[in-house]
Subunit: 640 residues, 2 copies
């Protein structure tokens, strides 16, 4: 059965509102995170990250670039894509308003102020970008490869959609700006316009959602046109190759996600949107297969994607080095966007698994305890101690290094911020006979079933530390409906406790279907015993290693401070299962005596392990690493 | 004892002529390669690579950039460093003349023609670079970070030195250009000039050698000044970090080679030159220790250096991924330059080992069978088949991919060409009591001992395939002298056969000291049984793997064509030693059934090896890979 969503901007904030699909997403006014692991992060996002991002964008002049449309900023500042950061911030602020910000008026005032500046910078014909087209600037669309003009417009559209769905409504001034910008894009690049694409996909996502908000078929058509137009090498030749720009082969002909990870994931997400809105099941299946293969062969244990620093790209199949893992924060956000769209379209619970993995091990890892520093890339192996960074120093470029207050390329913080602010929307959906729970967090749910009956839940979750999840019915009638609970793949041996008793349940979706009573509780007990995990033997970089996971968390060995152990010589005894310990997990390990500092290759017989005694080694959740001073770290642990 | 070299330009071509050191290098007029593995490559270099490089440099306008000094080329073409490629080519042509070119007059005519063009492009004050300082061009030295001006000058000086040493003598016009350029550099950057350095070391090497040729102390002083000036972060900030530019810490304070591999190696080689000429033993020891540590922790099995694509840099200790190994051809050439200088200074045979390794496994690998295609980077693991390239298409940028006819950044071919043309100089040196043989090739040696006595040798070598080396005395008197033979580290169980009989000899240097007779022969039998080699366990990327070596050669598994095996699932039985086979080496191997195409991480018990039967798998020398069409390849072989 297919659930049709009510398609209206009035429904409280929802990032994605497909007009059809297996599942109907809930809005921010239907599900709210009330406490626990993710609420802490949402609050930090609101109180620290959003103001931090705003102050850096002001300080670096990125907001100041939005001056009157006929005036070139005296010194336009920042890279070509900085407009998009302001838009991402606006989107995050909008979801924050939708979430029920502590001081919504102040946020709305900021949104209004930025909206005014942006509106003033828009040309009469709708074109809007601060780095092109004005006197003294390069011509519009003169650098489609790197100019990021349509990319920025896409983020503008997404921001406007968020604003429209979180109180702005149809009359929101940012939505008006977005419509004018989208109309211009349709003129310039429509069937009668330039048959070109932008070097960075993103406009496609914005156009589909704007079509959903406004009902304008033209925007959807334009998105579909861009998706089909990609892959024909209309962009100029560059040494990164066309694959970097998602322009090497048509979406429909590709078998795996490849090239620049964020570009590839944004395009795939947009292709799903187009497929869903046009009823193109073949395109949907094609993209799903690309993602499947990327998950099987090109994804880190953390769910992170993209293994090459050089071009921020997916590597070859099974080329997943732990040291210098790239796994950009934005690729994590983008993979969640893709997985969520596929989940809504297909109802396949596999997508929940990867969303959970990325949330706990990429998104939660990205943001510093202060909310004012963040990882751009997520290595799984830090060989030399991370450096301490100054709080007011921008990092040039992007890439490696510890959490930094800001990067020259600072997409990751506002990207994570918009996801976190709207995170409640990823917890629960409406399916044919009831509600389906995808991710567990302390939350309140109040919505209507497909048939319009009002239902409500209160969820309590000890995750990620404790696997007890309690779902209490807070609103129901006397007719039956279903509550579908997800037993994650890691929760082998889970128990379900209902008024009918306790039973063991398999991994996958568990449907509890009956007439519930108010205050009735369902309890899911998910085992969180720490476990060893081994990689596919085709992954060369982690051969002979195990990782430790516990519940949804990946763990790591971290060496901090003066007396830090040498993680280069670590060997874990994988015959002794890991156990819970104070503030972490313990494994049995020894540290080999390092070999002589000489030519490091020789007869195998020279390489016999020594017989040092093993000791207990404490591991910590990966998302906690690099929070206590310079350290070395490794996720994959060589075995004895 | 220290041998003092006769310091004169008249002595037949020698790339490096230290004024003191443990060993005295021979010139091209003293040692000549007459046949075998390296002669084939020298001839190919002369007949194919040099004309090929010249034709590309003409076609791309790099030679044409040298126009009159007051005229800006109408459209200056190529990157900022293309001048240096013309200089490297000139240097290679000069050594080719010195080697005894088949058509020396034609080569000399080309040299004269290029020299005229270069001389015409030199400004009256000696400045010489085609991309800066003329009307419409950026100012001189306005971009020290990326401008490569002093870098290019360094190569000009090296070319002029080569020319002076291969027939040009003191009056060579290119030498005159170089002197004026060097004088200008000393003015501009001397003690009273700008206290700055170039973003790419190289000028230092050129200045020392020019000092050696001309006897000008000023050039040596300037080289020393540049070496000392580095590491103080006088270059602008860049997201690659100061380490990339060899400007993050003073040479004297560094403990390991780091940053951009070619930059680091050129600077280290120049520091050795300065240390030797100034008698600075502390500096010499410091650089030697940096190289030792790089060899122990940052060098591939092939001797290749540099593991990161992003910035062509050394990675962290033990970060040596086989897939996407960078190992630039130029870093191989540069490491030989450094090792050779350290060898001459210290007499330590360890340096011979690494020179041999790089020659057979990087340099020999770099150049295609046609002499008209070359590798820039040397991966040790090709996961997806290499693509076929068009013969007349320049590769943008640099980095990955198969051997290409040309790259936008085409340093590697002319760099290898200058090494190959002068290769005979790396075979033999004069030491206190006689001659010392470092590398074996079919060759004729005729020189004088320290005390002036004339001696001669004829060497025959079956290497790399066959380990029999014969040294016949062709000239001697009746007084004793020594012939020192190197038994490579891989040649355990070597036998020495002399007129006094046969005996087993250990690895290292074997001295045969006596009064030889003309036609007396010494035979060295070096076992070349194929062997397994294991990596230091701290190298994560190759854990659980072995490589196969035979003599000086690294071997690889290569899968070519339609029925190619899947090297992702290869497992080698390392309990069965590799054996010689027709056209290669054989190991016992099986191919595992690949796991399901699903999430690639799971419980270790799921990852049990299957029990397929092993079969024979043929391996080929690494230098032969990618010569027979698109293929996959791996050097490191997972064990069963």
């Amino acid at each position: 059965m297919t659930v049709t969503s009510p398609d209206t901007t009035a429904v409280g904030g929802r990032p994605v509102v497909p007009s059809r699909g297996k599942l109907r997403p809930l809005g921010q006014d239907e599900v709210r995170i009330t406490g626990g692991f993710w609420r802490t992060r949402q609050d930090l996002n609101a109180t620290a990250s959003l103001p931090h991002a705003r102050s850096w964008m002001d300080k670096l002049g990125w907001t100041g670039n939005f001056t009157g449309s006929d005036a070139t900023p005296a010194h336009r500042r920042g890279r070509e894509f900085t407009d998009s950061e302001v838009y991402k911030l606006l989107e995050a602020m909008s979801w924050e308003v939708g979430r029920g910000a502590a001081a919504p008026d102040a946020l709305r005032a900021q949104i209004a102020e930025l909206t005014s500046a942006i509106a003033a910078a828009q040309a009469p014909d709708g074109y809007l970008h601060t780095a092109f087209g004005r006197p003294g600037q390069p011509d519009r669309y003169s650098d489609l490869l790197w100019g990021h003009e349509l990319y920025c417009t896409g983020h503008l559209l997404q921001a406007a959609v968020a604003r429209a769905r979180t109180g702005g409504g149809d009359a929101d001034p940012l939505l008006a700006v977005a419509r004018r910008a989208a109309d211009h894009v349709c003129e310039a690049f429509g069937p009668d316009g330039t048959p070109a694409v932008c070097g960075h996909p993103e406009i496609e996502l914005g156009l589909v959602e704007l079509a959903r908000v406004t009902g304008e078929q033209r925007y959807l058509d334009q998105a579909a046109l861009f998706v089909e137009r990609r892959g024909h090498r209309t962009l100029p030749r560059h040494h990164f190759g066309w694959s970097y720009f998602s322009d090497d082969e048509p979406v429909r002909e590709s078998t795996v996600l490849h090239g620049h990870a964020v570009r590839a994931l944004y395009l795939a997400a947009a292709a799903v949107d187009v497929a869903v809105e046009t009823g193109d099941d073949e395109l949907l299946r094609t993209v799903a297969a690309q993602f499947d293969r990327a998950l099987a062969r090109r994804t880190y244990l953390t769910g992170g994607m993209g293994s090459r620093h050089t071009d921020e790209s997916f590597g070859d199949d099974f080329a997943l080095p732990a040291d210098r893992a790239y796994s950009e924060t934005c690729a994590g956000v983008a993979a969640i966007m893709l997985a969520w769209r596929l989940l809504l379209a297909t109802g396949d619970g596999r997508y929940d698994e990867v969303i959970e993995r990325i949330l706990y091990n990429v998104v939660a890892t990205a943001i510093g305890d202060d909310g004012r520093s963040f990882f751009y890339a997520h290595t799984l192996h830090q060989r030399t101690p991370t450096a301490a960074l100054s709080e007011d120093e921008e990092q040039l470029g992007f890439g490696g290094g510890p959490r930094a207050p800001w990067f020259e390329v600072s997409c990751c913080l506002p990207n994570a911020a918009r996801l976190l602010a709207g995170l409640s929307c990823y917890l629960v959906t409406v399916e044919d006979t009831g509600l389906r729970l995808h991710q567990y967090a302390d939350s309140e749910v109040s919505t209507r079933l497909v048939d319009g009956r009002e239902v409500g839940l209160r969820v309590r979750s000890g995750l990620p530390e404790d696997g007890t999840v309690t779902v209490r019915v807070t609103k129901t009638d006397d007719q039956p409906w279903s509550i579908t609970l997800r037993v994650p793949q890691w929760a082998v041996g889970a128990q379900l406790v209902t008024t009918h008793g306790r039973r063991q349940v398999p991994v996958g979706d568990i449907v509890v279907y009956r007439a519930f009573a108010v205050d009735e509780e369902i309890r899911l007990e998910l085992p969180t015993r720490p476990r060893f995990t081994a990689p596919d033997p085709r992954i060369d970089a982690t051969r002979g290693c195990v990782a430790v996971e516990r519940g949804p968390l990946v763990y790591c060995a971290e060496a901090v401070g003066e007396d830090a152990v040498d993680l280069d010589t670590l060997r874990v005894d994988d015959t002794v299962p890991p156990v819970d310990a104070a503030d972490g997990v313990e494994v049995r390990a020894r540290f080999d005596a390092p070999g002589p500092d000489s030519w490091p290759y020789g007869p195998p017989e020279r390489r016999t392990p020594n017989s040092r005694a093993t000791t207990a080694l404490r591991l910590v959740p990966y998302h906690r690493w690099a929070r206590g001073g310079p350290s070395t770290m490794r996720v994959w642990l060589p075995t004895t």
